[in-house]
């Protein structure tokens, strides 16, 4: 019985991965077509891309380094999605998380690392939680749609982050509270104290920090939360059928706010890890593009934590190999962004993928019964 259920689970996993895999394939083919149109050699480009992502130790290190934030922002979007919410705000939550983590990281000199580092990480999570909770609260109390509010809050976060490190102006404007006084006209924070830095798993030239373990742990934790706990049951019920959730006695409003806050916390953790592990400071340009990519990663991963891990790894490899591809083949690295955008388009439009690859609609289980309810409906 246990074997039977794992087999069906495995087959279900393969089925779930089919569309994302084909979407990625279609995006790579379309990318190749673009290269052919502009007179480039797609084979050389993709070979360079592969070399750049997995060619040697340093490539692997780069891929892993790039994967980490994608995992967390992807989880952020996926978690909200399970509750029926569209978190477009991972970008802003990422920025706020970075700022909070740095604020703790550059202060409290003399704290031992085993207190300072967790404190800075928690500060990042708290910043994201707070920023994520705002759209949740506004949705519950005013009906404001979380998509609109999170988009607006991205701008607010970006400007707020910029202000905290503002270098001051030539006319004597007040500099931001986190600005590094020794940086002259450059708007950035001082370096995070070494007691708050995430240690290297593999030091330079590899530069892989322990953040990868935090990301993996977060994926497992979120999987456990969603699928194994009563709280996750409540979240999924709200996501599937809000009325049924209300009927079942679930506090729908509380669940919505909590889910948005947790989603924000994940994106905030991504920001904290990037600043404490890699950049060691915050500057306005360390921003939230990775937050937007979280949407693609979540959808490519079918909003399942394990799927998100795989999708984040794909994106890490694409980003990691892009520079090498340009160097090896002369194809501009921007093509990678086109491919990533096409992945989103194809994942969001599974019908196109079904058409291209001539897949039939699923004929088993639920899809079949959807048809049967339509002919036997009340």
């Amino acid at each position: 019985m246990a074997t039977a259920s794992t087999t069906t689970g495995f087959i279900r996993l393969l089925r779930a991965l089919l569309i994302p895999f084909l979407a990625l394939l279609a995006a790579l083919l379309a990318g190749a077509a673009v290269m052919l149109l502009s007179g480039d050699d797609p084979l050389a480009a993709y070979s360079g891309l592969f070399q750049g992502a997995f060619g040697d130790g340093k490539s692997w290190a780069r891929t892993i380094r790039k994967t980490v934030p994608f995992v967390l922002t992807g989880l952020s979007v996926a978690l909200a999605f399970k509750v029926g919410l569209f978190n477009i705000g991972a970008s802003g939550q990422f920025v706020i998380g970075s700022v909070f983590a740095v604020a703790v990281g550059i202060n409290f000199d003399g704290l031992p690392a085993f207190i300072h580092l967790p404190l800075a990480l928690l500060a990042g999570i708290a910043g994201g939680l707070l920023w994520g909770a705002i759209p949740g609260v506004l949705k519950v109390y005013t009906g404001a749609h979380e998509v609109i509010v999170t988009i607006m809050l991205n701008y607010v976060a970006s400007l707020l982050g910029g202000w905290t490190v503002y270098a001051g102006g030539t006319q004597g404007q007040t500099p931001g509270p986190l600005w590094d006084r020794t940086a002259g006209a450059i708007s950035e924070t001082p370096d995070v104290l070494s007691s708050a830095q995430l240690p290297w798993l593999f030091g330079p030239p590899y530069r892989v920090h322990y953040g990868i373990f935090l990301a993996l742990a977060a994926a497992v934790l979120i999987w456990w939360l969603i699928f194994k706990t009563p709280l996750g049951f409540e979240m999924r019920t709200v996501g599937h059928n809000m009325r049924a959730a209300h009927y079942a006695g679930i506090r729908v409003n509380y669940t919505i706010v909590l889910a948005m806050a947790l989603a924000g916390g994940l994106a905030g953790l991504a920001g904290a890890i990037e600043t404490l592990g890699l950049n060691h400071k915050f500057a306005p340009e360390f921003g939230g593009a990775v937050g937007f990519d979280g949407i693609t990663v979540a959808l490519l991963g079918q909003t399942h934590p394990i799927g998100v891990l795989l999708a984040a790894f794909m994106f890490g490899a694409l980003d990691g190999g892009a520079a090498a591809m340009q160097f090896e083949s002369g194809v501009p690295a921007d093509i990678i962004q086109i491919i990533q955008a096409l992945v989103l388009a194809f994942v969001a439009a599974p019908l196109i993928i079904r058409m291209i690859f001539r897949l039939r609609r699923q004929t088993h289980g639920d899809a079949g019964s959807a048809v049967s309810t339509s002919w036997s409906g009340p």
Binding site: T237, H240, R243, A244, Y247, A248, A367, W375
Partner: protein, 524 residues
């Protein structure tokens, strides 16, 4: 199986039937919806198509109306094979269909709705004048009075249905398919519809009347065809069969139609409603001072036409809707506007919701998860931190067996079950725990005779255990069969409460239509 030719049929001798389906088979993935069906409809007859939900009635009609293509077989009109690729083809062949859920635009007028899709144009402008005249003429000929300029949403449901029939007649339909047309009507409106159907038949129209209500079939049909599990299992002469025979033919085994129960042994008041006021989501005044008591060990049936406040009443009791005024006492405790969770727990109440898809279940969840929807957080299903999948599965196996929910396994999704089994799943969950008060809204909506029999017996069993039962149903038969007392709702008020033994169908039907209600504008 005998072919019966009713006296009323105006079929010329030797002429082909008006409509004939030959050897129709329709396969859906994993399901045979129709299997080798032969059916003929003569000119000037009312053919009742009887069958449980999921028997394949709607599929067959959708094939005739061009919405589905048959996997095998042929449709003939006047003896000629026809190709039906869309409803447009069917309309052109004189086939009209009145769907269970009306296909009308509520904000548009009768005339606009009737000409929608086949607009009559005069010099580039809509020619409402001449269409209105045609509607008036049709309305008079078939005795279906309606004002062409009235706006649909202002009209009672029975009149909206007339508009649907007129729309089909305006498009010159000779064959009318009426899909469960009586489910939305009061008893008086149903009788009116039957008179219209007879008039149409006498003027040469052919009617297919789809239903699962046996009494209506015997009242109006010239001939009865019964479908079961996608196959035609028999034809019958309404003059020669009983409801019991038809029910057994539909279900495939002997069924009891009467609910057997002892007189109620009513105890203390468990549910006490006082002067409840409430509004719909759109701000309409839905409950206007409702007071009602339900005692332990009795079934109080709330009768009424849909939309007279029953939905809101159930929602207020169960905590899903705020009461604007008044009080709800459950077992003596004030539960006015308490949370659904508190009402469920402290009130020991269970709720079979009116719309199972909207409230009662999560389609994407497994049967097992659906069965713990209102108890997932309790031991043994949850330790507080994690869910216990084994306990949930075991609980599901027990309930599925006890309540005869037919599913390949408890891991299958709720959506994959048939309507009757989904309802049994909801009932299993709600009845399967200790309760003092049962609120059942439309507990047998859209399910088959066999399941109805089962659910009714379960409700009576709960009553006999001393549970107070509030039953809301739009089916007068269900109210009459189960209730110990009957409360009639009209325009947000309880207009009368009658002991069952003093109530007659006619009396309740009149009360449902607003008779005997003072200070109330007449129903539109």
């Amino acid at each position: 199986m005998t072919r019966y030719q009713p006296a009323a049929a105006q079929q010329p001798a030797g002429a082909p039937p008006k409509l004939e389906v030959l050897n129709i088979t329709k396969l859906f993935p994993g399901v045979v919806a129709n299997k080798n069906i032969d059916l003929a409809l003569n000119k000037g007859e009312i053919l009742a198509l009887l069958g449980e939900n999921g028997a394949g009635k709607s599929t067959l009609m959708n094939i005739i109306y061009g919405l589905y293509q048959p996997t095998e077989g042929q449709v003939q009109v006047d003896g000629r094979p026809v190709e039906l690729h869309s409803p447009r083809d069917a309309i052109d062949l004189g086939i009209g269909m009145v769907h269970q859920h009306f296909q009308l635009v509520p904000v548009m007028s009768v005339v606009d709705n009737i000409m929608l899709g086949s607009e009559s144009v005069d010099r580039g402008l809509l020619d409402r004048e001449s269409v209105s005249a045609q509607i008036r003429e049709l309305a008079e000929r078939y005795n279906m009075p309606v004002d062409p300029n009235a706006v649909i949403e202002d009209l009672p449901v029975g009149v909206q249905q007339r508009v649907e029939i007129l729309k089909a007649l305006y498009r010159q339909a000779d064959i009318l398919i009426l899909d469960e047309p009586t489910s939305v009507l009061t008893p008086q409106e149903i009788e009116g519809l039957f008179e219209v159907m007879e008039l149409l038949r006498n003027q040469g129209k052919s009617i297919i009347f789809i239903t699962h209500k046996l009494k209506e079939v015997l009242r109006v049909a010239d001939r009865i065809a019964v479908l079961r599990r996608g196959e035609m299992v028999g034809e019958a002469d309404p003059a020669a069969v009983s409801q019991q025979d038809l029910a057994s033919l539909m279900v495939g085994r002997k069924v009891t139609l009467e609910v057997e129960k002892e007189p109620a042994n009513a105890g203390e008041v468990l549910l006490q409603l006082r002067d409840i006021e409430a509004f719909t989501d759109l701000g309409e005044h839905a409950l206007r001072g409702v007071s009602l008591d339900v005692r332990a060990g009795e079934i109080v049936g709330v009768a009424g036409v849909q939309g007279n406040g029953q939905t809101e009443l159930v929602e207020v009791i169960t905590g899903l809707r705020q009461a604007a005024a008044g009080s709800v006492l459950i077992s003596g405790q004030d539960m006015t506007n308490a949370s659904p969770r508190r009402i469920t727990e402290e009130g020991a109440i269970c709720h079979v919701p009116e719309d199972r898809h909207m409230y009662g279940m999560v389609d994407a969840y497994s049967v097992a998860d659906n069965l713990v929807l209102s108890s997932y957080y309790k031991r043994p299903f949850s330790s507080g931190l994690t869910m216990n999948e084994q306990a949930i599965a075991q609980h599901a196996e027990e309930l599925v067996a006890r309540f005869d929910v037919r599913t390949p396994s408890v891991r299958n999704s709720g959506a994959s079950l048939s309507g009757g089994n989904q309802q049994k799943m909801v009932v299993a969950r709600e009845f399967g725990r200790p309760i003092r008060l049962l609120v059942a809204a439309q507990p047998t909506r859209g399910i088959d005779v066999g399941s109805i029999e089962f659910i009714h017996s379960q409700i009576v069993a709960k009553r006999d255990e001393g549970v107070a039962v509030l039953l809301v149903s739009y089916e007068l038969d269900e109210i009459m069969a189960l209730s110990d007392r009957i409360a009639v709702m009209f325009h947000g008020r309880i207009s009368a409460v009658l002991p069952r033994r003093d109530a007659t169908r006619e009396q309740v039907g009149l009360l449902m239509a607003g008779a005997g209600v003072a200070n109330e504008p007449a129903s539109q």
